[in-house]
Symmetry: C2
Subunit: 311 residues, 2 copies
Amino acid sequence: MTVEPVRIALGPEPSELLARAITDGGATVSELGQARALIWDGGPAGFPERLPEGVAWVQLFSAGVEDWFDSGVFDRHPGVVFTSAAGAFARSVAEHALALLLAGVRYLPEHLRARSWRQREFFPHVGTLRGATVAVVGAGGIGRELIELLAPLGARVLAVNRSGRAISHPAVVETVPAHRLSEVWSRTDHVVVAAPATPATRHLVGARELAQLKPTSWVINIARGGLIDTDALVAALRAGVIGGAGLDVTEPEPLPDGHPLWELPNAIVTPHDSNPPRLRTVAFAEHVADNVARFVAGRELNARIDVAAGY
Amino acid sequence: MTVEPVRIALGPEPSELLARAITDGGATVSELGQARALIWDGGPAGFPERLPEGVAWVQLFSAGVEDWFDSGVFDRHPGVVFTSAAGAFARSVAEHALALLLAGVRYLPEHLRARSWRQREFFPHVGTLRGATVAVVGAGGIGRELIELLAPLGARVLAVNRSGRAISHPAVVETVPAHRLSEVWSRTDHVVVAAPATPATRHLVGARELAQLKPTSWVINIARGGLIDTDALVAALRAGVIGGAGLDVTEPEPLPDGHPLWELPNAIVTPHDSNPPRLRTVAFAEHVADNVARFVAGRELNARIDVAAGY
């Protein structure tokens, strides 16, 4: 018995990366006429007026799909399942957070300034995530991806989420509900801020919180600048209250020229580039491979658009 | 039915970290008189002349145990199993390698030099390990630990070992035998050198190998300086033949003041501090917890010393 391969089309342009994603997911690339699904790497403008009858699923590139709703494409294809790229970009941001945290813990900023082999001076400053407690404040998509990266490093994660519903993962030693966040600061070695920006999370990290951390603690922010009180952070970095800060987002943003964060030796600022346009394509390919595998296996697709609900 | 706890003693000094390792491993800390095993965090000088009869296993702190052989301790306790700390320190070195690689891929050296928010200039330079091929040259203890860290980042590992015996791991796309190493350079995005220093591995990375890499490739060396031809590397870094280098070891070592590697913006030099004395204690505690768990379960212990063979 030969099993018929699942045929999936690609548009509007050919793409080697996305073709590989389709193959990786266990399907084969075909013309739209023979396809059961379509991976669409473009906007609504060039989308086919009518899809062939065999097409049951369309994967779109964007995470937000307001313009697709406006275009009427969904209404023209009531029998087709559409999925977005929502959640596909969490991994790149989590990787960036890990890069910042490891750079801090391994004392790379000071190493980069060195012009001489001062091994004995460096020895006491090189840290490890092994056995270290890392508070992941906001355990949504990015936070959960980060936990996967921290696990093999041997970090012990304090996961903070709104509900406090336990995150079941060997690396998570405790899930703390947001209303008990104040207990976390004195219990952790490092903090990664990955929470959404809401009135409740504004200046979540301020002078009082920083004071409870350790002189070796690194604070990483890959969420929104307003979650940290920048003036309090600058004061803590200057006084050595904490070890350092890795910031992909700032308040104000963009960070103006001449701001003290540019000059502080224990601050790493990246200009909100944890998920640059170039990487979105790679992340999208991963998302596609995963969804193709789900489609082939008849499992539920990720990021299915609810046309009736409008998102 | 109550199960009798496995009692393990600690010496020569009390240690909170090691006591927790014993507990983490599923045993309880006790006096030597009642113990079935001893974790010994010191040298041979203060070691007990005669161990109580109940003690079946002794865990030593050092990875090399020449002085223990010289001391006669093993001969005095022929019925006791001794284990060393061999392999315990691979994880810290692997973590350092990952920190250097991620710092390079995420363009952190240039970010650290920035004094202005130049997002659009940075966008094209921020890379990812997701979907990237990483050649791990020398897949021994450190290499295998590194593969565990690279896996959740979505890297595709080309593992190079002497035998070419396949390393079975979802992240390893191919195990390449050392005699086919020349095929690797043009197929990889990044290289981590983790091989032992032997006449056969001297200047393993030279001008010809570097020329086959990409302008975005990072070369990491956490093994021995002599594995890389330093002059060829400096030339490649200057010309932009590769993206950068992260070096915990150099040739010559220590790297002398005024050496071009200190000034090159795409080189990160750390003075052979990937496993500093302070971290060895933490790594040892992990090793102890693992071995205690094995002892409690009656499984084979890691790093058992073969007294007859002399290592």
